[in-house]
Amino acid sequence: MATQVLMPALSPTMEEGTLAKWLVKEGDVVKSGQILAEIETDKATMEFEAVDEGTVGKLLVAEGTAGVKVNTPIAVLVEEGESVSDAVPAAAPAPAAAPVESRAEARPSVVAVVAPAPVAAASGWPHTDLPEGPTKTMTVREALREAMAEEMRADPTVFLMGEEVGEYQGAYKISQGLLDEFGAKRVVDTPITEMGFAGIATGASWGGLKPIVEFMTFNFAMQAIDHILNSAAKTLYMSGGQMGSPMVFRGPNGAAARVGAQHSQDYAAWYAAIPGLRVCMPYSAADAKGLLKSAIRDPNPVIFLENEILYGRSFEVPTDPGFVVPFGKASILREGKDVTLVSFGIGVAHSLVAADELAKEGISAEVINLRTLRPIDYDTVLASVMKTNRCVTVEEGFPVGSIGDHIASTIMQKAFDYLDAPVITCTGKDVPMPYAANLEKFALITPAEVVAAVKSVCYR
């Protein structure tokens, strides 16, 4: 029986990819395990193997085609005596993608074969937070890479250290190309030893360097958190101002897709609690680039919380090489008069989608992107709440001791008389992240929950 070969999902967050090259042609007999094609994802170019034996009856997608969705039929394998037409018309639901052994990605965080639930994209709200001037479209991933490359060109003491940042070109492709440009002295591959290299980087920051430490995910930074807090964050104070730790700890934070409890946690509130640290959590590519440049230049230790799901999203970024985003300055991504949505990171994406929905029902939501969580731009939040008289906070992290709790408490203390309703804090659920697709979806904050919270504070 003829078999359809489907576009595989090659990472937890892959939604589509480019069929870079066919390594077989129609009429070829293939064996199981034979490499059929090279497929380029936003993270890497990977080889795709045949699972079944057969003859290549037809290649359905030409090489070089970009934007091929996961699970799209890309070829048909036929058995002896069969014709291609036996298989092609089969418009029935496509079978599940054949499992593909992920070769390039060895650590559990990045090995998965199931396509994620995509994050709903908000309709194109004009960003009101970009300075005047020309922009170009780039992904968050490209923005992060460009920020590091520009700062490394400008300052020879800046270097990148972490697992797979060099020869592998980055577990999430953030550091792609940096080894070629800067060499192994400045793009340092480490063994899998988070506590050790976080400590070494902190020591190096005291010795006159400006390290950028990449954690493959912030879940692994738990192994290193003693150095982040006790060694990096506190030394300036403990030394009476003699020496601090000019460095950046960066990497993906929060849930990706279907990677379970140990790989899906948002640490925003944890790090934001620590004096001596700066904490950034970008949403857009412009945030990512501008904040990371500020972070690398900052003389303090900076926690830079990225999001794997946002890595591949595109945004407009100013082309001005001097563009930076200052710490402690929130942006208002959408102005509104009925309610203030306060968020950061991927929560901003959910807030913007919710604001779209609310607009259809006649509720005008103002969306604030905090961008940095230490310092927090209280002034922008309070001014907005004094205008709208209602507030909903949106974040992915756990509910207890959340950033939302802190914002709500601050509003209560500073703007109590302006509130027409209690502040509602939308967060992830108070459970370890489940693996099952339906449970995971239920555990995460969604735009629908934000919409419901807004209606509640608006008494609608």
Partner: protein
């Protein structure tokens, strides 16, 4: 009865007197710190270095300007040995503005950028990767400085020590790991915490050479330090020195000392004391008279008293200091 010291023809009188003076300064300083603690002028934790003086004095004698050092919370001796001002150290112990960290660090958290002293760390073993990181920076910057990374036999059981060994050797970092093996991790003796018979030997698994050294003998310590420094400066990567030493006092000021006998302490004190050894070398070989040594004793006592006075007179930090030095 004091051990009869060997004749040491290659050591000058000046060197011996310098060692004597520096070790005595640490001992008298620590005794004074103990007194001030008893008087309530020093608070919190206070870990005295008495007994181990030869380790830091011997190693510092081998260093050059630019070399760095980082250690644990038993750090007063290291600071005095690298030339930090006893007044600033003592005033930090009393939590005064005249202290090296303006009173905000305390006994366990003191630094001197000027003297390349990078702490004073209260988390056992954390200073080990930090020291390797200082060495990483020196190698990156292309100078020939070496970092002395001190830790105890207790810290030697922390996992991050071995993460650091692995990277230090992999990247040939100019770092000397100095294990101050004083026999006890708080109250747990080495033989109750590991089956390893030597702690330096664990480095061999990572390709790091090392050796055990009589840490009560300042001359042996200096010689070992010179050897290790030559190894590092030649670009051969890290080296491990396991200093066999002993602390006469408790782990901290609140140590009930139930884990060892008074006789054990007394025996080492009478047979191995690092200061008595040098005193004997000086007097028995006729290099120095009792009067000369007494003059030094007096001078050290005056220095320590001056430090103690300063640490009492220096005011507490003004309340505004609570809010400074959090961000650069």
């Amino acid at each position: 009865m004091a051990k009869k010291p060997d004749a040491r023809p290659n050591v000058s009188k000046e060197d011996l007197l310098k060692f004597y003076r520096e070790m005595l300064l640490i001992r008298r300083f620590e005794e004074k710190a103990g007194q001030l603690y008893g008087m309530g002028l020093i608070g919190g934790f206070c870990h005295l270095y008495i007994g181990q003086e030869a380790v830091v004095v011997g190693l510092e004698a081998a260093t050059k300007e630019g070399d760095k050092r980082v250690t644990s919370y038993r750090d007063h001796g290291h600071m005095l040995a690298c030339g930090m001002d006893p007044k600033g150290v003592m005033a930090e112990l009393t939590g005064r503005i005249g202290g090296y960290s303006k009173g905000k660090g305390g006994s366990m958290h003191m630094f001197s950028k000027e003297k390349h002293f990078y702490g004073g760390h209260g988390i056992v073993g954390a200073q080990v990767p930090l020291g390797a990181g200082l060495a990483f920076a020196d190698k990156y910057l292309g100078n020939d400085n070496v970092t002395f990374t001190y830790f105890g036999d207790g810290a030697a059981n922390q996992g991050q020590v071995y993460e650091t060994y692995n990277m230090a050797e992999l990247w040939a970092l100019p770092v000397i790991f100095v294990i101050e093996n004083n026999g006890y991790a708080m109250g747990t003796s080495v033989k109750r915490s590991t089956k390893s018979t030597s702690l330096y030997g664990r480095g061999l698994a990572y390709g790091i050479p090392g050796e055990q050294v009589d840490g009560m003998d300042v001359l042996a310590v200096k010689a070992a330090g010179e050897k290790a420094l030559a190894h590092c400066r030649a670009g051969k990567g890290p080296y491990i020195l396991e200093m066999m030493t002993y602390r006469y006092r408790g782990h901290s000021m609140s140590d009930p000392a139930k884990y060892r006998t008074r006789e054990e302490v007394e025996k080492i004190r009478s047979e191995k004391d690092c200061i008595e050894n040098v005193r004997d070398l000086l007097t028995q070989s006729g290099l120095a008279s009792d009067e000369e040594l007494k003059a030094i004793d007096k001078e050290i006592k005056a220095t320590v008293n001056e430090a103690a006075e300063f640490s009492k007179e220096s005011p507490e930090p003004p309340l505004e200091e609570l809010w400074t030095d959090i961000y650069a």
